[in-house]
């Protein structure tokens, strides 16, 4: 007699039960009421699927073996039976590995019971219907096929007689899954007389075979399991499948350990160096991206996200492809360096409308930190962001392009996928550089159920990791490994430290990853080399002060580990505009340059400085000009005109910041005779104008007496009266609302439930009687309120009722109604 899982669990000591719960934490959310509830949940489809997801390929195969060796009646199996099946193949795994896998399954309670009588929990068959990719036993499918399978010699003969094209189909189904769909008509017999005109079958030595599937079904090697007259599905019976697998063993090829990486490992230093080079690129490109967004923010689309046109523009500015730009954009956003800003004076208040994406305040902080720290912030954001950037540029279900920052690229599983892929790399020896295919193979072995169908996402992770410099030459870099460990550790710590009290993120200490990367990156330099072709080479990353100076005095030409700038006339002029004097510039070049400053540069600075300011531009309120220089000198010297603050621009022109009119008056007052002139120099004549006020409406045109009482039409008056009456009634009603409904009674009452069911009866009666009812209810904010209503209908959990006061139809959720009282 087998014991149920619940019985098994009951007999467990507390520690074992706790161990199970630790292995399968989803069992305690929410905490089950008793052991039988726990057992039910442990056998449920969802929980079993979760437990299976985390298992590696070999353990899953052992579970399949357990399922295949079950006793048909009792449903029990034994470790020995599993071992026997696992070692039946040509390359038998070590028995210890098999036992290890079985013990793992028992620890998870996917198998339970004593070793000689193991049971598979119920949910497994629901989660994966075909153990080891084998079909159901023939007995379950079709009696005639069962008869064939019962005669091994005949079965073998039939198999050998199969034409090659049919054999190919069998082999494919034998490798699993054992079910295939059949094209419409393939199982139909050809029309009478048409047998001869069948096309020759190249795979069958040229002889026509007709449909190979029909041959297989007719010979009982395949069983048709569903489908109407057209197509359908066929299933390969388990016995046939096992026979076809006799070369590889009943479970297919077995691998007790993960596949080995054939690609030779790289030089660890070369890996770190390539990765570090890439980190410099990433930081530089991100900065360039943010700078161009600061100069011209990207508008948010109404549907969310940033349009492809803006993305292209940014990609062009960066000189990179769209994919990398999208990645940097998303990463910068996730790192908090980019944010949306509502446009001031926007015409619409709709969400997402009229917003722009531009750098946040955090960008300033980011920019001021060291290269390694900047990179770490980006890489951390990438590791943890729930975005799958590879989707950007593809089309969604409705065939619309997916844009940057749009909701369509949101994938909750993205961080886990990144961690899984990088975890594979991290578990290999340092600087091992598997090819993407090998990484996928490893992932497939580690958790086949999890990695299936995510191959493209995993490839994207690898590509992004390379672009971000987390990996170099295909291998995980030393600092990338540290960062990954750090992030994983922080995650694990988060479980028993939910408030992050022990976090060291705030301590200001750079993380180990930053320190490791810092050692790889070039130190900032504070000097440059000036050459005769007026180029300035900074042989390394410039320190911020130097970068600031160069930004003013030279044009940027080439960037990377070092940077090349060119001094041009325009750049010197810009520096002079920014307040540098020629002497300052000479000093700057002398101080910063490790090489003698070429004569050409010195000359260029002097030459531009000489011309700089040769033209002067300013604004004036007015001017006084005269061909008589003496007269102008007199005006300038006149003390009465001092308030006008005249300035002599030339011997014949004075300028003043004051307006012409004021100057005219002052000059005339002082006894001069100025004449105003317009922009073209023509004299402006000023004849005094008579002032007039704007005309009002003459009294004679008014049509009625303003003091007479307004006349009102009768219907209008009646309307006013009705309005007043209703207001009165409402006010009275509000005063009269019964205590039960007003809410205070409800709160003090012993239990709200009877009140609620009473209320329902009252309301139903009121609907029938079309009577007025006082209804007390809880509104969306939790406050109680009451209203006088005439119920119209009750249904689907809602009450529809007319409000007497507002004459509107309202809908109330029934569960919110606390009381109802008939109006009397």
């Amino acid at each position: 007699m087998t014991t149920s899982l619940a019985d098994q669990l009951r007999t467990l000591p507390d520690e074992s039960l706790a161990a199970l719960l630790q292995l399968r934490p989803d069992l305690v959310v929410p905490v089950p009421a008793d052991v039988s509830a726990l057992a039910t949940r442990a056998q449920s489809r969802v929980s079993v699927a979760r437990a299976l997801d985390g298992l590696d390929q070999f353990t899953l195969q052992m579970l399949d073996a357990a399922r295949l060796t079950r006793d048909p009646e009792q449903g029990g199996t034994a470790t020995e039976a599993i071992l026997a099946m696992a070692t039946a193949g040509p390359h038998p795994p070590a028995p210890t590995a098999v036992r290890g896998a079985v013990n793992k399954l028992r620890a998870l309670f996917l198998l339970y019971g004593p070793e000689h009588d193991l049971h598979v929990v119920g949910g497994v068959d629901e989660v994966s219907p075909y153990p080891a990719g084998l079909g159901r036993p023939a007995a379950e499918l079709d009696p005639r096929t069962a008869a064939l399978c019962a005669d091994p010699a005949k079965l073998r003969r039939t198999l050998l007689a199969a034409p090659p094209s049919a054999r190919a189909i069998l082999d494919r189904l034998a490798a699993g899954p054992p079910v295939g769909s059949v094209p419409p008509g393939a199982l139909e017999a050809p029309a009478v007389g048409a047998e001869d005109i069948l096309p020759p079958d190249a795979t069958n030595g040229g002889a026509p075979t007709g449909s190979p599937i029909r041959w297989l079904v007719d010979n009982r090697l395949l069983v048709r399991v569903s489908g109407g007259k057209g197509g359908g599905t066929v299933e390969l019976p388990r016995e046939v499948g096992l026979l076809l697998r006799r070369d590889s063993g009943p479970l297919g090829p077995l691998r007790t350990s993960p596949p080995l990486v054939a690609t030779p490992p790289r030089e660890p230093k070369a890996v770190d160096s390539a990765g570090a080079g890439q980190t410099m690129e990433v930081v530089r490109h991100t900065e360039a991206l943010l700078e161009s967004l600061a100069a011209e923010p990207a508008p948010m689309l109404r549907s969310g996200g940033v349009g492809v046109r803006d993305l292209r523009r940014l990609a062009r500015a960066l000189g990179q492809d769209d994919a990398l730009t999208a990645l940097l954009f998303e990463v910068a956003y996730a790192a908090g360096l980019l944010g949306e800003l509502d446009l001031t004076g926007s015409a619409t208040t709709r969400y997402g409308g009229d917003q722009q994406v531009l750098p946040t305040g955090g960008y300033e902080v980011w920019r001021a930190s060291s290269l390694a720290q900047r990179w770490e912030q980006l890489a951390r954001a990438w590791l943890t962001m729930t975005r799958q950037v590879g989707l950007v540029g593809q089309r969604d279900d409705r065939d619309r392009p997916i844009s940057v920052l749009s909701a369509e690229a949101e994938r909750a599983g993205a961080p886990a996928a990144r961690r899984a892929v990088l975890g594979v790399l991290a578990d290999l020896e340092p600087a091992a550089a598997p090819t993407p295919d090998e990484v996928l193979e490893l992932l497939d072995w580690r958790a086949p159920r999890r990695s299936r169908g995510r191959e493209s996402a995993h490839r994207e992770v690898l590509a992004e990791a390379a672009q971000l410099g987390v990996t170099g030459l295909g291998a995980l870099t030393s600092y990338g490994r540290l960062l990954l460990a750090d992030v994983t550790e922080a995650d694990e710590r988060g479980a028993d430290d939910p408030l992050g009290l022990r976090s060291d993120a705030e301590s200001g200490e750079p993380s180990t990853a930053v320190r490791a990367l810092d050692a790889l990156l070039p130190a900032p330099v504070d000097h440059f080399l000036v050459q005769a072709d007026l180029t300035v080479v900074v042989p390394g990353p410039p320190d911020p002060a130097l970068a600031g100076e160069l930004e003013v005095v030279a044009e940027h030409e080439s960037a990377g580990g070092a940077s090349v700038h060119r001094v041009t006339t325009a750049s010197i002029r810009r520096a002079l505009d920014a307040g540098y004097s020629a002497a300052d510039l000479h000093k700057l070049f002398r101080r910063r340059s490790r090489t003698p400053v070429p004569q050409g540069l010195t000359y260029l600075v002097d030459d531009v400085a000489r011309k700089h300011g040769g033209l002067r531009v300013g604004s004036a309120g007015g001017y006084v000009r005269s061909d008589d220089e003496a007269l102008l000198t007199e005006v300038l010297a006149d003390r009465r005109l001092e308030p006008l603050a005249f300035r002599r621009l030339a011997s014949t022109v004075l300028a003043t910041p004051y307006q012409v009119q004021r100057m005219l008056i002052a000059l005339r007052d002082a006894g001069y005779a100025p004449v105003p002139e317009d922009a073209s120099g023509a004299t402006v004549l000023a004849r005094p104008k008579t002032r007039r006020a704007p005309a009002g409406v003459p009294a004679s045109t008014r049509t009625f007496d303003p003091l007479a009482a307004p006349k009102l039409a009768l219907p209008r008056l009646l309307g006013v009266v009705e309005q007043i009456r209703r207001g009165e009634a409402a006010a009275r009603a509000a005063r009269r609302a019964p205590a039960v409904v007003r809410g205070d009674a409800v709160r003090t009452g012993p239990a709200p439930v009877p009140g609620h069911s009473d209320a329902l009866a009252v309301l139903q009666q009121a609907v029938r009687d079309k009577a007025l009812v006082w209804v007390g209810y809880v509104d969306a904010h939790g406050a109680t309120a009451s209203r006088l209503l005439r119920p119209v209908s009750i249904g689907a959990g809602y009450l529809r009722a007319e409000d007497e006061r507002t004459e509107m139809l309202h809908t109330f959720a029934l569960h919110r109604i606390t009381a109802a009282v008939r109006e009397d």
Binding site: G275, G277, A532, V537, P539, Q599
Partner: protein, 559 residues
Amino acid sequence: MSGGPLIVQSDKTLLLEIDHPDAQACRMAIAPFAELERSPEHVHTYRLTPLGLWNARAAGHDAEGVVDTLIKYSRYPVPHGLLVDVAETMDRYGRLQLANDPAHGLVLRALDRLVLIEVAKSKKLAGMLGDKIDDDTIQVHPSERGRLKQALLKLGWPAEDLAGYVDGEAHPIELAEAGKDGRKPWTLRSYQREAVEAFWAGGSGVVVLPCGAGKTLVGAAAMAEAKATTLILVTNTVAGRQWKRELIARTSLTEDEIGEYSGERKEIRPVTIATYQVLTSRKKGAFTHLDLFGARDWGLVVYDEVHLLPAPIFRFTADLQARRRLGLTATLVREDGREGDVFSLIGPKRYDAPWKDIESQGWIAPAECTEVRVTLTDAERMTYATAEAEERYRMAATARTKLPVVRALVDRHKDDQVLVIGAYIDQLHQLGEYLDAPIVQGSTTNKERERLFDAFRSGELRTLVLSKVGNFSIDLPEAAVAIQVSGTFGSRQEEAQRLGRVLRPKSDGRQAHFYTVVSRDTIDTEYAAHRQRFLAEQGYAYTIVDADDVLGPKLPTVD
């Protein structure tokens, strides 16, 4: 982090710090795949181009080696993306091969079938490909070989040309290093030898050497290597005669074996020297002298001053892909930006040496470049300010104020041979009168030119005024001073060629001087700055002085 001399930039330029102890080794290592772009005094700039990388592949370097070199010499970490890009670019080379099929003649063969399908569908190749022989092979019309290679290069799938070259009609040519007709023995200089070897190994290509570094000898050595009939294309008749003189002196060739094919004479001999001008002259819209290309079975075609190659010659050259082609130039910068056509039709750059290196080896004279800024008189400034935009450069360049400065410069170099070079005939005539010197210009007959040049060479004539005809291919060994008064706007190669006139090493090893006289605060200054860029990038540092400094110290003393 290694303290290497190389900094790899993300825009695929390589900065080489030449004061670094490993700089020389690094240069040797990167030269096969990176193109020298600028070589000023401290930091040389190389560039990684697809073309350069493909040429390296063609020369047998693989991507792994290139990546290793970059990592080995790089001072800072090299971005992973760049390394991947290098590897991928190099991987594109040779997926297609041009080969001679014994049955079908010239064929395009694919090692990667998908690439062949891709390029066969391209519209750019329409008409160049013939019948499909099998899945991996397509027939090619032999006449389309050049154009096909050019088009494939543009598509990014350069073909490896295994079809080889025709040997041409054999003709014995030897270098006469032992001395001939009583001349002193001589040997090919090391860089000339390297240039010839690089060219011969590659089959076809361009050799870039500074003016005065003996490009003619590279040509002669290539001919001695080919030992076949040779067609030499030169810019003008005078240059052609110089070639002839040099070939007679330095090789086993005799006068009878060398023909001149110019406006004056039409000789076709085992070695024929033709001018671009006569080849591109047309009668009734048809090129009448094209037969020359097919007149003999040439084994080698030499293009002198390849940067001046006129457009029609490009077209003819496309048909000559089976013959070895050697391009010679000092300045492979074309203001029309057709450097790419030169590379794809004549061949990639096979050898390039920084000017300053040759100078330090003593093969060209050290030169001092000076820009003299002349302040225009107020009247001249006023004329300039009101001139039409298209007249402005001429106004500024031909300002009379320049004359006394030129004279002061000529006087300063009393003992040297001085060339005065300009672009505007009126100005040259003024100068000729002012300096009392003869003028060589376009309209001067070849005979008169030869006479004047001979007089100049012999020292009889001390000052010579040259128009644009003096830009190229004039061998005036003892000229030590060149004064440039005006030029063809901002032409960089013209500036370099003019400097080249004074770079022949002097018998007493003295310095050459190159002056360019420009008008201050005018467009002349801007063009001058642009013209100087090439030389500045070659490490020639211009000193800028004011005209007053030139005129100043020489104020006449009052007796």
